[in-house]
Symmetry: C2
Subunit: 235 residues, 2 copies
DNA sequence: GTCCCTTTGTGAAGCGATGCACAAAGTGAA
DNA sequence: TTCACTTTGTGCATCGCTTCACAAAGGGAC
């Protein structure tokens, strides 16, 4: 059996590094398309929007894949990062909830590009069950467990209304799924060993609003409009 | 002029805390609807999916709004967090790019709920300009600057193809916008003082795939399928 | 082979966030 | 008033990530 270089920490890549690897991969793919053979940490870092020291440390966690004085071989690095991220196999993804957002996700091309294949769509509304979206038949949520098992789905995207999300999560987890991407604005409770990632548009906007408010406050010279909590309310 | 309590760090809330405030706010709104008057840090923390020490430290950055032995007044805390996040005013948001995703965002209800109002939709495709989506007329991208200024848009959501995103960002920034939520899979370069937040479905999936691969590797007892880099490729 | 130049990989310091553990502060009962 | 109990606010140790700065390693010219 062939092992990876011993100085690469066997199974210990920092979470922050993992979150940046897809960024590097995308930048490298662009360079590959433009025909670049090698790239320096400086150039790759700036294409990915990080500084070069961070990039080098990140890559050093995968192994020693660069050449001093030269840089990194673009194709080789693409292969190594892809392998580390698990993109050399392909993953069957199911989308639950085919409302506006679910439809948009199903049709989103960037999805399929790298290792991911939308393998099933589910909804509870009899009105949309049976529709064809992005070449797929929308299945009824009653068949969730059976279809997940049959098609080997390992990642589920939740695009249901908030009220349904926890219940659906429980069911897909019971069916063996351990990776969930949640678009519903609720905090999901899941057993240990299940990975959840959350995307919440409303939260992102609120964070932007906080900084935006700060910027405008600063312009107008302080919190002149601060108001007291209305006296009428009982404290 | 009324000031906030002096022990609250005047303009110094940690970024990690800001990112969690919307979570607390959502949990509090649920409690308010269920008629709860007060809540302990323990209960609120568990509703928001964090531990109670973190919650208390986060809230302490806003001021001392709890009562020892009792907990926090739900309505009062909602008010304080809303004010800190800048949700007591409402923000005009523009969505650029009315493809699948842009449409879904325009129709997304959770948007409007708290302080945000979709004030304009833009697209470059003459085919969709003039369409009515979620009660709004889709405007041509040529009118971007004029409409942004006229309607006081301060936050822009980018849902354009990747190739157009940087160019659109440059234009909205030139028009005075300093907060952007970017759904396009590109690294945007922006001047200092402009806040960008990024949402990238593909990256989220890749992170999940990494962990999923790890879990299955562990089950099958090691990286038995690891392959050498094909010899044919020049290194 | 030797020298110079470039670029990687990493030790170490710095920085911010997390979580523990407890003193301080409040409630309610007697 | 005093006492027992609850819950906040925070000092402090710890942890993980970032950044600096440089030794080590490789390439190319001569």
């Amino acid at each position: 059996m062939i092992r990876r270089p011993s100085h690469a920490r066997e199974r210990g890549i920092p979470e922050a590094t993992v979150a940046r690897l897809p960024l590097y991969l995308r930048a490298l793919n662009g360079m590959s398309e433009r025909g670049l053979a090698t790239v320096s940490s400086e150039d790759l870092a700036s294409a990915a929007g990080v500084n070069s020291a961070k990039l080098r440390k990140d890559l050093s966690h995968l192994g020693s894949y660069g050449t001093r004085g030269v840089g990194y071989d673009v194709e080789y690095l693409i292969y190594q990062i892809s392998r580390e991220l698990g993109l050399t196999q392909d993953w069957a993804v199911a989308i639950v909830g085919v409302g506006n957002l679910g439809r948009a996700l199903a049709n989103y091309g960037g999805f399929v590009s790298r290792g991911f294949r939308v393998a099933a769509l589910f909804d509870a509304d009899p009105e949309v069950v049976g529709d064809h979206i992005a070449g797929l038949n929308v299945e009824h949520i009653d068949d969730l467990e059976a279809v997940i098992r049959r098609r080997g789905v390992s990642i589920v995207v939740l695009a249901t209304p908030a009220a349904a999300a926890q219940q659906v999560a429980d069911r897909v987890i019971a069916a063996g799924v351990t990776s969930i991407l949640n678009f519903a604005p609720v905090v999901l409770t899941v057993p240990e060993g299940v990975d959840i990632r959350k995307v919440d548009l409303s939260i992102e906007l609120q964070i932007l609003a906080f900084h935006e408010q700060r910027k405008t406050d600063r312009m107008s010279g302080g919190p002149a409009m601060a108001e007291e909590w209305p006296e009428a309310v009982d404290l």
